[in-house]
């Protein structure tokens, strides 16, 4: 069952939690010890997660490293975890980004360092747990648990409007997910009614045949929850607030992993559980995605605040991911998955860069800068590379993802794809225009003339991300290979199940028609008889 004969997923999931408890034991006065401890924990965590990548078998579509033990036996809830090609890279992304985040907040966070580090590590456990859970209740527990540390990160270490932003973040997400919880419970009973088994096991629930009318509502509940998390237009309004107020590392994690939970949720839960309803919704979702792409880009263009600009660019990028997924072909879905990773890396890096600028000038308004490239050349170079990755220039990771998504989208919806391409042009406009205004205009503000270039720690923070930009840009095969089997099976399964439902539907319609005809015929003689009498 488990190729390593070792509960590696549990270890990966709960190691940060153990680390958090260890960090808690360190005196709060010893700030550097706290930072070092958290960094070491997150680095070890990354190293522990590597065997998952190495021993992952790319040829099969099934769940790997599976662990399954009963949790609440009387209700059929189990501790069921596993990884497949869909979750593998996001798990690695999570363990990769956390040390980067901890490193990035080395000097920026001076207040309550201990609590901060504990929150970061708790968040890591919750995110990993949500990504590997294959039991619906277990997933829900981690899914909600994610909110708490993120809420604290925004609320305690955030900007001036942090309380508003933190509450909005929490309430939006919680409001979405409670309906999912009801849908999960409903599904559970429905499964029991049909099969006689009480289970929350996702893989078993995949095979359930749910009547179309019921499926519709369950699908709405799941979609709502995930669409808020993604966030899809028009449910995105919490995101700019949360991003702008969150501390740098919070923004990185939020953009890098938390938003991916939404898109991941679609792939893992909503689509395979409700293929027929998904199919009915596809045009709507695709249209909303395209609106998100264009709207996000246009709003980003007029932002005076760099961080807000990046936040709106997230809305646009996630629109691409959703468009790719809902193209339902191999290029689209793999492109979507790839773009999820890209967005984590390049938008994460953008937030880091903006954070570095903010720490020096305590402003994020574009108009306060200008000519920064002259005083901070190294910084400007990094910023350039990441900007280009974000606008998807060939040779960077962004290009691969966006290209695949657009190819996939062209195959399914040519019109939407054409509009989405214009979003790419808009993306280049707002990013490069922002870059130009910040980096190249005359260096006329006296405060900007004495800015120090980024230091060694900051370079170390950025370097892994920049290297990945190129690795993912030049060798996409390395990454896609591990997804292929799972995505192919996902599509095959989706199409097969959709066909099944569609046949049922036509059969039912046919039956209804026949019944109508029969009753018409049987009524006709009676009417005649009545007339003759």
């Amino acid at each position: 069952m488990n190729q390593l004969d070792f509960p590696i997923i549990s270890l990966v999931t709960f190691f940060p939690l153990v680390g958090a408890i260890t960090v808690m034991l360190i005196s709060k006065e010893r700030k550097d010890a706290l930072r070092t401890a958290a960094l070491v924990v997150s680095l070890i965590e990354f190293i522990i997660s590597l065997p998952v990548l190495i021993y992952f078998k790319s040829g099969t579509h099934g769940m790997q490293f599976v662990e399954n033990v009963p949790w609440v036996k009387s209700l059929g809830i189990s501790y069921f975890m596993g990884i497949d090609g869909i979750s593998l890279w996001i798990v690695i992304l999570t363990t990769f980004l956390t040390p980067v985040c901890i490193l990035s907040s080395w000097n920026y966070i001076q207040k309550w360092v201990k609590e901060y580090m504990v929150c970061m590590l708790l968040l890591e456990t919750a995110m990993l747990g949500a990504l590997v859970s294959l039991d619906l209740v277990l997933f829900y527990v981690f899914w909600e648990l994610m909110l708490i540390p993120m809420y604290m990160l925004i609320g305690v270490w955030g900007g001036p409007r942090r309380i508003y932003a933190a509450l909005k973040f929490f309430l939006y997400t919680a409001a979405g997910s409670v309906f999912m919880l009801l849908a999960i419970i409903f599904l559970y009973y429905y499964n029991h009614k049909v099969t006689g088994v009480y289970t929350f096991n996702l893989l078993e629930l995949y095979n359930l045949n749910i009547p179309v009318s019921v499926q519709f509502w369950l699908c709405v509940a799941f979609f709502l929850s995930f669409a808020i998390k993604v966030p899809m237009f028009p449910l995105h309004t919490w995101l700019p607030d949360a991003h702008v107020e969150a501390p740098t590392a919070g923004s990185v994690i939020l953009a890098g992993v938390l938003l991916k939970m939404g898109t991941y949720g679609f792939l893992r839960f909503a689509i395979p559980l409700f293929p027929y309803a998904t199919h009915q919704f596809t045009p709507v979702i695709a249209a909303l995605s395209v609106i998100g792409i264009i709207y996000g880009a246009m709003v980003a263009m007029v932002q005076p605040d760099i961080k807000k600009l990046v936040a709106y660019s997230s809305v646009s990028h996630l629109g691409y991911v959703m468009l790719g997924i809902f193209a339902f072909n191999i290029q689209g879905i793999e492109g979507g998955l790839y773009q999820m990773l890209n967005h984590g890396i390049s938008t994460g890096a953008l937030f880091l860069l903006v954070g570095m600028l903010y720490e020096r000038r305590h402003t994020r308004l574009i108009k306060d800068f200008g000519g920064i490239a002259k005083v901070m050349p190294v910084f400007a170079t990094f910023f350039m590379i990441i900007t280009l990755s974000s606008v998807a220039v060939p040779g960077t990771n962004g290009f691969v993802g966006e290209f695949m998504i657009l190819v996939g989208a062209f195959r399914s919806y040519p019109v939407f794809a054409v509009i989405a391409v214009s979003g790419a042009i808009l993306g280049a406009m707002y990013m490069l225009w922002m870059y130009q205004r910040v980096m190249f205009c005359p260096l006329d503000k006296p405060e900007n003339q004495k800015l120090k270039d980024i230091n060694a720690r900051e370079i170390i923070t950025l370097l892994p991300l920049v290297i990945l930009v190129f690795v993912m840009g030049f060798f996409p095969g390395l990454f896609l290979r591990k997804m292929d089997a799972t995505v192919e099976h996902f599509l095959e399964n989706y199409n097969k199940r959709y066909e099944m439902y569609a046949q049922q539907e036509t059969a039912e319609q046919l039956e209804a028609k026949i019944a109508a005809v029969v009753s018409e015929r049987s009524e006709a003689p009676r009417l005649q008889g009545g007339a003759s009498r």
Partner: protein, 489 residues
């Protein structure tokens, strides 16, 4: 000739061993309070603690048989035992909180206080096991009268006296309603025995919809509704909770609720099972309104005790959702919820009882500003209790709500479950506000926490551990709750 025969009632004292222990402890404590020379120490508290612990073990080791004793006056089933266990936990934690609280309010460090507390617990236990409507009433009054007195224990504080008076007046009315209801039910069925009423109504379907019985049921609903703080009989809750000494508020909010729900479940499911379909229609609406009123009004509160009072109304609403759902799953869900709620609510009040000064308490929400970082351990447990009340995993509050809504969906009350989850989202807002104030705001004034004694630390640790244990490993408690749904029919 049969009528004149005098039957000596069988007296099975083993069946009421936990209650006997409590009563003896109560009397001992009272006498110790009078005769002991040392008035300031925690000795009385620890004595009561020992009594409750003994009683608790008597409950745990009383076996698993299902018998009725004292000619049907008492039923010893697993349901009653679970309620007794909840009551013991509540009493245990309340005493631990009180031992510390005596520093703020020296008045409560007397034999009378602990004696009343123990008698109230005794009444609660009897409510869980009462097999006869008269027994329900006697138990209810034992509990209530003790608590009326407890609420007014801070004789120098006007609010405490107001609280006691209000609770007493309204409570007396409610008891009147309840008793009148019992009388009408007796008139309709000719018996006070809960099991026999159930059988009678089963055999005589015509009586089920007789005005006499319906009137009785309506009056009983009012009486019980008052005790569980059900809409529209919830008006007393905020004032009484705010005024009473915090340790007593904690006791009231959890113990009374558990006992009243226990009696409600037994009376309505066993005796009035035939009416359940009709009751559901009304209780559906009441459950919805109770949740909504509690949660919506709680948002507007600036005093944390009042806020928790409204939150307790809301929690009564969630429990009523389980009540409406009915069935074994719902009963076990309610039992689980009552225990979880006892842990989180006692914990929250325990934290509040830590922040008090000599002549009053810091109960405004704004008083908590910045305390999360100033007292990290206190902040952490308070956060755990708040997240639990809001129903965020992995806490008892989440699992409790999960079971109750699961039961509701299982019984087909999907809309009620939907309104339930909407309500829990509303409630997140005000529970989070406590966390916002504790962690996100700078302290406005220099508030010094009482030096916590071992007792309160133990209480908070037990409560937090209970909340997390029931959230992370709910299996063991849930299995006990599932085995505790056998009511003597």
């Amino acid at each position: 000739m049969d009528m004149l025969e005098f039957v000596v009632p069988e007296l099975d004292f083993r069946a009421i061993l936990p209650q006997i222990i409590l009563a003896i402890t109560a009397l001992t404590v009272l006498l110790t309070g009078v005769f002991s020379r040392e008035k300031k120490g925690p000795a009385i508290g620890f004595l009561s603690l020992a009594g409750v612990a003994l009683s608790f073990s008597a409950v745990v080791f009383s076996g698993s048989q299902t018998v009725s004793s004292f000619s049907g006056m008492l039923t010893n089933d697993s349901f009653a035992r679970f309620i007794s266990m909840i009551v013991c936990v509540v009493a245990l934690l309340t005493i631990l909180i009180s031992i510390n609280y005596r520093k703020i309010s020296p008045a409560i460090n007397s034999g009378e206080y602990y004696c009343l507390l123990l008698f109230a617990a005794l009444g609660m236990m009897f409510m869980g096991s009462a097999g006869n409507l008269l027994m329900v009433f006697v138990a209810l009054e034992t509990m209530s009268i003790s608590i009326y007195a407890l609420a007014g224990f801070q004789k120098q504080r006007e609010k405490s006296i107001e609280s006691a008076l209000k609770y007493f007046l309204l409570g007396a009315f409610a008891s009147g309603f309840l008793l009148y209801g019992f009388a009408l039910v007796y008139g309709a069925t000719g018996t006070m025995d809960i099991v026999k009423i159930g059988r009678f109504l089963n055999d005589h379907p015509l009586v089920v919809h007789s005005p006499l019985l319906l009137g009785g049921v309506a009056l009983m609903t009012v009486g019980f509704g008052f005790k569980v703080a059900m809409f529209p009989f919830h008006m007393w809750t905020p004032d009484v909770y705010e005024g009473a000494p915090t340790s007593v508020t904690a006791f009231m909010a959890t113990g009374v609720k558990a006992a009243a729900f226990a009696a409600l479940i037994r009376v309505f499911y066993v005796a009035l099972g035939s009416l359940q379909v009709d009751m559901t229609q009304i209780m559906w609406v009441i459950a919805l309104l109770t949740m909504t009123v509690g949660n919506v009004v709680a948002i507007a509160q600036s005093n944390i005790k009042r806020m928790l009072a409204y939150s307790s109304i809301a929690h009564a609403g969630y429990l009523l959702v389980g009540f409406v759902a009915g069935g074994e799953l719902a009963i076990s869900g309610m039992l689980f919820y009552l225990l979880g709620y006892a842990f989180m609510n006692l914990g929250a009040f325990g934290v509040i009882a830590l922040l008090a000064k000599k002549d009053g308490e810091y109960t405004e929400l704004s008083d908590f500003a910045g305390l999360g970082f100033k007292y990290p351990a206190m902040g952490l447990v308070m956060a755990v209790f708040m997240f639990s009340m809001a129903g965020i995993p992995p806490t008892a509050g989440f699992m409790g709500k999960f079971y109750i809504f699961t039961a509701a969906i299982n019984s087909g009350f999907i809309w009620l479950a939907i309104f339930g989850v909407i309500n829990s989202v509303i409630s997140i807002y005000y529970y989070l506000r406590v966390i916002v104030t504790m962690y996100f705001k700078e302290p406005e004034q220099d508030i010094v926490m009482l030096t916590p004694t071992g007792a309160i630390i133990l209480a908070l640790v037990i409560a937090a551990a209970g909340v997390l244990f029931m959230g992370i490993l709910p299996s063991s408690v849930l299995d006990i709750a599932r085995n505790s749904t056998t009511l003597i029919m």
